[in-house]
Symmetry: C2
Subunit: 397 residues, 2 copies
């Protein structure tokens, strides 16, 4: 019998996909589905990015250097410096999306059986990257009731074993929207220093902080050997399809290992690097409009959600996600019911059940993640649907 590998079997299908057939069926019945379930931004990609590709003169589209075009690495370093991060071009390995940066970090830091501590809920694919590397995610629960702040540092410390190699945070956090405070980051770094751990910081949503400035652990004193920043242009510039990210570290040994992995795939995408390079030249004021739009959407969702009886949601300070606790038996059942059995004036809403973001079985069963990637009128309509649905859902509790 031909067999696939154990990790090929063990790897979970994306939780997003479970509901997709129901959404497709709803749409084919003529129901308009408001998609609050995925992190695909609707904001226009800066036209200057596409223009850079469209104006390029290319006789032969050659491999780029393995670490990325030097011109892009330099401009990206300048961007990091503008936001206060002490990054130079030599610290940057340009990757094929943030996902490849995660793959490099996991493959280069973990031996089979090693452990990685991650506050949960967390971005689901971390589990798959751990599976690929043979590593194990050790979750530490954060809680909706305090806005998903970093769990007490003693709880993380209690999970450290001789196999622990790293702590991973997503900052600002997908799915919670939480933005880690300086004192939390300092505690994390101190713990990593004490136990010789890497601190992975997934900063895909860096530019979307609404209530306080963003701080990367790379900006802390003593970060150099410990911190690996995993980055992507996907959300920052609404450029998910480009597949350009970055693996950023000041650890020469780790950079060298990641570089060897990067050599296997020769180079990151070339056209997309031209595209990304144009973005790296945008002034920071470019984000003003996008942030104002996202902030207005967040405030709308908070206002509408909090007006729904039994719904609780903390204020997320960053990203374009909101986590909400709903008065339902199970958000997995509720999400399916919304697509299969409900509509309000021919409309319904697709949400992400939060169970897909927890490693602990049974956690998050009455929570959902909502992505505010629709414009304000669409979000109002989606909230009308959600409010009505909660009134009539048979599994309300």
């Amino acid at each position: 019998m031909l067999q696939v590998s154990d990790r090929g079997m063990a790897l979970p299908l994306s939780p997003y996909r479970k509901l997709t057939p129901y959404a497709d069926a709803a749409e084919s019945r003529g129901v308009h589905v408001h998609h609050l379930n995925i992190g695909q931004p609707d904001i226009e990609t800066p036209p200057t990015m596409l223009a850079a590709v469209q104006q390029a003169s290319i006789r032969v589209l050659e491999y780029s250097p393995t670490a990325g075009y030097p011109s892009y690495r330099h401009k990206l370093a300048s961007y990091y410096q503008r936001v206060g991060m002490p990054v130079v071009a030599d610290d940057i390995l340009v990757t094929t999306g943030g996902s490849e940066a995660l793959l490099f970090a996991f493959m280069c830091c973990f031996n089979p059986g090693d452990e990685l501590i991650v506050p949960e809920p967390f971005y689901g694919p971390y589990l798959g990257f751990a599976e690929a590397a043979g590593a194990r995610i050790v979750p530490v629960m954060s809680h909706l009731d305090n806005g998903f702040a970093l769990p007490p540092i003693v709880e993380l410390a209690a999970r450290i074993t001789p196999r622990t190699k790293a702590i991973l945070i997503c900052n600002p956090n997908n799915p919670t929207g939480y933005v880690y405070r300086r004192d939390e980051l300092e505690q994390l770094l101190a713990l990593c220093q004490e136990h010789h751990l890497y601190l992975f910081s997934d900063e895909a949503y860096r530019e979307f902080c609404y209530d306080a400035p963003f701080l990367s652990p790379l900006q802390l004193h003593g970060a150099a050997e410990h911190v690996v920043v995993l980055d992507t242009i996907s959300k920052r510039y609404s450029a998910c399809g480009a597949r350009i990210g970055a693996f950023v570290t000041k650890s020469k040994a780790l950079f060298q290992a990641a570089f060897k992995f990067a050599q296997l795939r020769v180079s990151p995408p070339g056209l997309a690097q031209l595209f990304a390079e144009a973005a790296a030249e945008l002034p920071l004021s470019y984000f003003d409009h996008t942030k104002a739009e996202y902030r207005a959407r967040r405030d709308l969702l908070l206002r509408r959600l909090r007006a729904m009886p039994g719904v609780e949601c903390p204020t997320p300070s960053g990203t374009f996600y909101i986590m909400a606790r709903l008065p339902v038996d199970s958000t997995e059942r509720f999400a399916q019911w919304l697509l299969e059995e409900f509509d309000h004036d021919g409309q319904t809403v697709m949400v992400s059940p939060a169970s897909g973001f927890y490693a602990t079985p049974g956690a998050g069963q009455n929570e959902v993640r909502l992505a505010y990637v629709l414009n304000l009128p669409a979000l109002e309509a989606a909230m009308n649907c959600l409010g009505h649905a909660l009134e009539v859902y048979p599994g309300r509790c």
Copy 2:
């Protein structure tokens, strides 16, 4: 002490890189270096490909579907059908270069400790992908004296153990240029059927066969569950920098496992898929000019090399590589000497020592791989350099 993973340590640096500093130094001394060392084609990328991107109207560059744009998958299936391969869109997972197709195949078929039989010499990065998956490459020697034909099938059979999961061929072969015959492919498939093995076929150079038509093992009777084709547009359309490849199989179980890996990185590059889609529409006659050019270059190299005393080289029927045995003590030393100590009228030549393509220690020490990715006058000049160099090299034997 912070440590990188065992595989991060074990992964070899690309052999290409060892000589690069010497080439850079030669160029900074004003010596013109003819680069026959890398497989970066000089043929123009079809302008219709860039035009497709440059004419695209894109408001938001969204994630593509995980398996690639349906329109591209369909057109790519049509291309495969035009070359006689029974492929439909559902058999195709669009990947980020051929390298990601290799990664998916290795991660999905091998458990740590599993074995993969590969005729050597072979494309060096296979070793790295095996390291990433925790698998071990078991080489079987092919020989310059018979043109690097498939070793006798009993030699492959003798290497099969309970840990063997697959046989990997590159067809046409990089680095040897050998094109596998129907009877060789049939023997390979029969062996895989007998022992329940996958047959990986890396077909990056499919379109470059000069003396006989190409045959993929996927075209053989009974191939469906066994064969995985690993493909890329890099060489076919001189589009290495795009990073678009394909993982092609009719095994539903394996496709599903690879799809789950693909979900981790969400989607392949979007702009590059538009680029590749335009290529998939080109008629097969597009290759006529390119093949004629490569064939003329091959014939030039064969004529010049065979006129050099002590040089032996079989006729490669495909790719744009030639393997040659040189009358030198070590092609590693010779290659470095060419860059460090030799020039002919201010020119020299950079070659790939073949040791980088062998897993067996000490093998291939008097062989080089030459890539004919320069135009005919440049190749003549490069051969003038090589001929003079062999006359004066102190390590000649």
